[in-house]
């Protein structure tokens, strides 16, 4: 992979149904999208059309890699076979960023394929930070950890999530992928202040922002990625940009996936919200 691009601006999750729209004009880039994010796990040890299409996109755009199975918080040993496949993909794609979630996905060799919550304790911080450091040593680069949406909390929690995330990022010297929708969802579900969350994370470690849609069930919200970004999340995103300054931002959509053009339009909203927030910040 020889093409290099500056990583900045606004991106979308790369989904197979959008390959034709993205690659239809092979000479150019689609206006309105600056980069794409892939789900790393979908391209590890894979050949054929998926990897060839990815490489065609990579020839034209910066790519960031986002995993869902690192299981950084699990008590099982790190899965070195998975990490080896991840490293091979990193070498092949040369992504601008590599991220996964602050969660666990299964123990005793089982993968539940979900982003499961961790007890927010000092011991968990030590456990996760140690594993992040080992992952970074193995990959030879810093990774980003994303805050997941959560629907339960633990009686033994010792600190708020934003302090938990901040402590791990500092101890392990890793970066943060801040999912603004997840902040909103977890704040609603656990009745804490989303703005306190934003004010509690270290701005200099946040290297990427996620936005997505959710489902509000009245007494709780589920992070579904199957709808447009909700208005309160746009408001919180504006607050985040005022707080942190401009950070590369993307929209995730994993279900009820609309036409590519519709997502590009939605990304335009992110540009507008960010621009207005930065204007307010300057003032």
């Amino acid at each position: 992979m020889t093409s290099k691009f500056e990583f900045s601006g606004f991106g979308l999750g790369l989904r197979p149904q959008h390959f034709p729209a993205i690659l239809q004009d092979y000479q150019g880039r689609t206006p309105g999208v600056d980069w794409f994010e892939i789900i790393s796990d979908n391209f590890i040890n894979v050949g054929g059309a998926p990897i060839r299409n990815l490489e065609r996109v990579r020839e034209r755009y910066p790519i960031v890699m986002h995993g869902v199975s690192l299981s950084i918080g699990a008590t099982d040993p790190l899965d070195m076979e998975y990490l080896s496949g991840l490293k091979t993909l990193i070498d092949r794609i040369e992504p601008s960023l590599v991220s996964d979630h602050l969660c666990w996905t299964g123990v005793h060799g089982i993968n539940l394929h979900d982003l499961l919550p961790l007890p927010l304790t000092r011991k968990t911080i030590e456990h996760v930070a140690d594993r992040v450091a080992r992952v970074q040593d193995y990959l030879g680069r810093q990774i980003l950890l994303e805050n997941a949406s959560t629907y339960v909390s633990f009686k033994n929690d010792e600190l708020p999530e934003w302090e938990f995330l901040s402590e791990i990022s500092k101890k392990a010297d890793c970066h943060i992928l801040l999912d603004v929708n997840n902040v909103y969802v977890s704040a609603f579900n656990h009745e804490f202040s989303a703005v306190d969350y934003l004010n509690g994370v270290p701005a200099d470690r946040i290297k990427q922002i996620h936005l997505a849609g959710h489902q509000n069930n009245g007494d709780h919200i589920i992070d579904t990625h199957d709808a447009a970004v909700a208005d309160p999340v746009w408001d919180l995103y504006g607050t985040a940009m005022q707080t942190f300054g401009a950070i590369p931002t993307m929209i995730e959509r994993d279900d009820n996936i609309p036409d590519f053009e519709e997502l590009v339009d939605e990304l335009g909203t992110a540009r507008t919200v960010c621009r207005e927030a930065l204007r307010g910040r300057a003032a």
Binding site: V46, G47, G48, G106, D114, P119, V152, N156, H220
Partner: protein
């Protein structure tokens, strides 16, 4: 010593897999929204299996498919990092598990759908070109051995499931339900090396036997001997060359080599 994190994660997982309630004692307010994780686990994985086995789903209908796949998930919690491999054991499980094992058509349909998926995104590898064969000295030909491309998969079927699967895949109404075959047949699925599309075709019995022998390490000379037994009317070398050309043009072969004497 078991840590608190161990205890919590084991209990959480037991709730999702087995419905055990031990985790609730560790959750604030008893975890009023724990069902989000429980429901999400099953629904998410059922959705993945429905996408991987659309024809099995169509043949069984929603209710029976869900019943079968819930049983599969209970017996086979995922042990892979990627959800891509979740359905790896479905065909085998259907063959072994009552009442589904009484319906071999399901096993065959699942095996065929899974093979198509493997051909679609299986690992890339070198593809043997005709030009590479043309450079081989005639005296070396008898000893040549061939390696299969990893996108090639062979599936033995007792039921005529392919027309049904193709109709479902192309969103047409199947002309009829699959029927049992008089004799089992072997189908090949593979990815074309140029356009990367997935193809499939039925193998004649002789070709199946020769292909199996070749991928078991039999050299070109043995391939010719087998064909001479099957068809004495035509020169076996010509038959073998023709068969080989078809395989090469389809991208079924990854490489050719001449074993050294001490290997």
């Amino acid at each position: 010593m078991t840590s608190f994190l161990d205890t919590v994660q084991s209990a959480f997982q037991s709730k999702l897999l087995l419905g055990h309630d031990d985790i609730l004692a560790h959750l604030s307010d008893g975890g009023p929204f724990m069902s989000v994780y429980e429901d999400g686990y099953t629904l998410r994985l059922l959705q993945i299996l429905a996408e991987d086995f659309t024809a099995v789903h169509s043949l069984l209908g929603d209710a029976e498919f869900e019943k079968a796949m819930r049983g599969y998930l209970n017996d086979n919690p995922s042990r892979h990092r990627s959800v891509r491999w979740l359905g790896q054991g479905v065909s085998r499980w259907l063959a072994d598990t009552s009442p589904w094992r009484n319906h071999k058509v399901l096993t065959d349909l699942a095996a065929f759908e899974w093979a198509l998926g493997l051909s679609f995104d299986g690992p890339d590898a070198d593809v043997l070109e005709v030009s590479a064969l043309s450079e081989i000295a005639p005296t070396d030909w008898p000893d040549l051995v061939f390696a299969a491309h990893p996108s090639l998969h062979l599936v033995d079927l007792e039921w005529n499931v392919v027309p049904f699967q193709q109709a479902i895949k192309h969103e047409r109404d199947p002309e009829q339900a699959p029927t049992v075959l008089a004799q089992p047949v072997t189908w090949a699925t593979w990815r074309h090396p140029k356009d990367l599309s997935v193809y499939h075709r039925k193998l004649e019995d002789n070709e199946r036997k020769v292909l199996a022998a070749v991928f078991d390490g039999a050299p070109f000379s043995a391939m010719c001997q087998m064909l001479a037994q099957y068809n004495a009317d035509n020169a076996p070398e010509e038959q073998a060359a023709g068969m080989l050309a078809g395989w090469v043009n389809s991208g079924w072969l990854s490489k050719v080599s001449i074993p050294t004497a001490n290997t």
